[in-house]
Symmetry: D2
Subunit: 341 residues, 4 copies
């Protein structure tokens, strides 16, 4: 059982079938094909609002291109210190943003809190020509520490952004896990709360390689498409991005996969707790952060279970990530199996 | 029959099978998997020299990242005016190259000629701090106009580059078609001629989405990998890039597909000629450029044949591109079928 | 007599006096001082329209920052192949423009012709996501080859720009020489013809180091000021830029200096012609391009006259540039003095 | 008395005389003149080591260009959170550094402490391809809070940098004030401690507009000169930068001016303390940070004394900056004069 990340999982059958379905036909390149033509409608129906979809092959590309729409080369992007864009995307924000700077703040479970955001923006804004003015706020749903913003929390952040005339970006690499956890409508935590651009992750949740940049501000389409092309992210065989996304939405596969992963995380949390581990955060999506003693860690490893230390949440902490294909039964029987072994 | 480009073709069966083969297993992300580990060896065997392979999903990304290794932000890249990097990759060279500038020259069939390159470099170099000094030469094999550099021509270019202390880059989006056309060893037209970095195209020739940046200068590995990450081009499920490339090399699939496409182009050229079209260039790879009168163009279109006007090679010119799956028989019988219709 | 460029000349007395006048007082930094406060009004009066002035210390900075307002990172700037921004400003346009690309055309005396511009823009625009769309046209007044656009020529260019929805930029490093040559009002060849941004040169024409970015589109102020700061071009002791410009405008010093330089060029042209040189272009501003045999060139050099070969206008060509302080009498008597020597 | 910054002061007489001395002669442009030719020797004598000098007109340009030599587009620059490059230079570091990122730490009086730097570098380095590796450490001497690193402190930082294979940059906008305060040799706190690049400020200390990028690593000359040109920072009338610097070094004017400013700060500190203000830091250079009640602040303001609140050092704090021309007697008699008023 490999819990080192959800991206260790393979492509899921529905998406493989969608790819295979395109094996006998020709199609116009660069997004002029029939499958791509369905995307805007499919996502607009999902979100119950007109929106524009620009797919790319990686979550980092989706974040960097999506975000670059919302900040000038002289401006700042406010994010949590632990945000993927700050910790794990190299100097990509400045690269795609023409120099734009990350302005980081803290908060529990890698969440930004609306009140502190309000203070931060008040302190950082309008400091004159020498300083970097915030222009955009970026949040991650679910967060890098496995937490999920509530509907109210996101609306509160949206209101603060509106007050300070900030754009609002959401890194949704694990958006499906967040929606599955909240049981809300996807609109409730996005455009209805003021989100301008969402990256809607599929790669970690069963796709081969596709994340969608969802533009609720439809005026951003042209700029986004130009940035995608210039960045080398426009696929020639674009239909292969499109069919992955269409299959991902069809019959709520995205939610089905995410619910499975979330369930696996809950069950794994119970199993690990019963073995003596302590939760660092209450697991809300498909990520678990636990503390455990060296003996337990060694025992798990000896049983072939793969997971990673995660010092960012504190000394002695480990991260376990479940996926669409995590084996629920083996997770449930883990304590017994280990004791028997 | 769709000849508008080779990228309208679907994924080929061998590569689909390779992707499908990864459906039941977990693998470490970001290139730490077992399949990726085989790439350097596979390409080193193919090229008969130690080289480093960094795969990305698009040919534009391969070109832009590969090239950015060979030029400083203050330097120039010499290329043909018709080069893909000049005509068809937006402002990508400056983006990935930190401002690096394209310095264009002319030449027949979109080829750079060694003698004129020598003159160009002599005239453009060492013009002082205000000017942009050339630092790198970029050629395309096969060229954007369907021509193929001979082994001697590339060696001559390599010698000029060495004389002027220029790095040499090769855009090999259709490298397979060039090798199939020349019947040479891939080493003969790359590192043996002084090529520092090659982009080895697979997407147009049967893959879903993968082109390999091949570094014959192995010291460029770290910088290339950093540029790939920063550009959002590092796949999490990296094995899916790797298995495409491995399948592409296995049993010389890359050559088999290219030979098919080249053969289709030759046959199509015969068929079109017999119908009254005139070749603009002798077809050497899988691209045909022809002139024909409006009646013939209309006749072909009425028969469902798709192709594109290509004014860059002259007024009244059209481009036909064949692919790994072009129907040889239907191409051969085209004149008769049209006359019958 | 040093005719290698106008920038070999020293600071003129009026501007030195203006600098010296600030030696005993304190002043707020970064443009908040009283002298800077006068700039917008002074230039608005000169141009007879409301405009915004952002001064910087070099002509290259003025061009690069001014131009960066008018083009996106994905767009092209149309200019003459010989334009200073293309030949003599390194990779600066891409640097300040976030990757923006120069699209060059030809034309006599380094001028862009309106008809050919119209054709060029028609051919280059709307070529799809892969290509670089022109977004801005940049002209130089007077041109790099010493020619001066007529009022009608600039209005014709302005109309073409309007038709194609292009912004219009004017590099006015030698704007004063052009106005002095035309005898027109400065408004006639700028905003009345559709110029959005002008760089108004002073450094070559008597100042120590200051060129003004003049924004006829006043909405560009904030972006220009941010670009200036980020580029390290915002002076702390900003009043020293301001007083140079104010002295330069006062009593039409800018025109007085330019008329002197233009007169010197005319006289020098007569003297050189009488010695056997041939004009390449009719001198309109303060630059002369001539052809002469080696004996005459040697004779001039032996007499201590400094000038430069200028192969860009053709083999055997030389450039002579006069300035605000060129010695009119010595220029006039040159033929006789050489013959006596 | 204007203590809002040292850049409110005018040009000092010696430097004005140096500028005026160039009023009657011609000189080759762009640094090919005789005055510029003296710079490397003059600074090499001052620092008692061979070094290269590249002058620019602003301190921000000096920092951004100097620093851009020492970090790649994928790398990080470690600096104090209060560093000028982090707080007051817009997004310039990323702009000139091609995306390079600031990695900030804390420390007393805006100083980086060697021990904590060692820990920081250990924690931040080698975190893999996704993270930004530190490549350079930047310190400010004197710091933004008016403190001066001791010779030992800088050597300790230099040793940590060497251990971690980091380059070392020093922002010396107020380097003269630091040397005057320490009474050391300028070599002691620069190259002898491992500093690769220093910006040697003159603008705040009597010049019109010039700061020198001093390259102790002489291999950086070409890259620095290219970056200067591309950034629009290469003066055509370059001798006017050179003569300012030469006059600044002659007869130790730089130290004379700095000693005056430092003395003024000490005296001002005594005067303010006697009036009831409390020092936040012990003044070591020419900056004072004090706390005082509203009555005293109002009294000072009513007497025409200009100074600024400085919340970065804490609530209720004010900054006073002295300069080469601060009136020592009026500062000394301030308490008495105020009481009389």
């Amino acid at each position: 059982m490999n819990f080192s990340s959800d991206n260790v999982s393979p492509i899921c059958p529905e998406i493989l079938a969608a790819i295979a379905s395109q094996s006998d036909s020709s199609a116009l390149p660069y997004g002029q094909d029939d499958e791509t033509a369905k995307l805007d409608t499919a996502f607009s129906q999902l979100f119950e609002t007109d929106c524009v979809v620009v797919p790319v092959a990686t979550g980092t590309a989706a974040n960097l291109i999506g975000l670059s729409n919302l900040v000038s080369p002289y401006g700042g992007v406010v994010c949590h210190h632990e945000a993927h864009i700050n910790q794990t995307e190299s100097t990509g924000v400045a690269f795609f943003g023409g120099g734009a700077k990350l302005l980081t703040m803290d908060g529990p479970s890698a969440k930004i809190e609306a009140d502190r955001l309000d203070e931060f923006l008040s302190a950082q804004s309008n400091r004159g020509i020498h300083a970097v003015d915030p222009e955009c706020v970026a949040i991650t749903q679910a967060t890098e520490f496995g937490a999920v913003y509530t509907v109210d929390e996101i609306h509160a952040i949206g209101r603060v952004c509106k007050t300070h005339d900030m754009r609002l970006f959401m890194d949704g690499a694990r958006f499906a896990n967040a929606v599955a956890s909240l049981g809300c409508h996807p609109a409730d935590i996005t455009w209805k709360a003021g989100v301008d651009v969402l990256t809607f992750g599929a790669t970690k949740n069963g796709a081969l390689a596709v994340d969608a940049i969802v533009l609720f501000d439809k005026t951003l389409r042209k700029k986004t498409e130009k940035a995608r092309k210039r960045g080398g992210h426009l696929f020639s065989k674009h239909r292969y991005l499109a069919v992955q996304l269409l299959a991902y939405l069809e019959n709520d596969l995205w939610l089905k996969n995410a619910r499975h992963a979330n369930m696996a995380a809950r069950l794994l949390g119970q199993s690990l707790t019963s073995l003596g581990a302590r939760m660092v955060h209450i697991p809300q999506g498909n990520e678990l952060f636990v503390r455990m003693d060296d003996d337990l860690a060694a025992l798990l490893r000896a049983a072939g279970i793969i997971f990673r230390p995660w010092p960012a949440v504190g000394p002695g902490a480990y991260r376990f990530v479940t996926a669409w294909n995590s084996p629920l039964e083996a997770i449930t029987t883990l304590p017994g199996d280990l004791n028997l072994a």
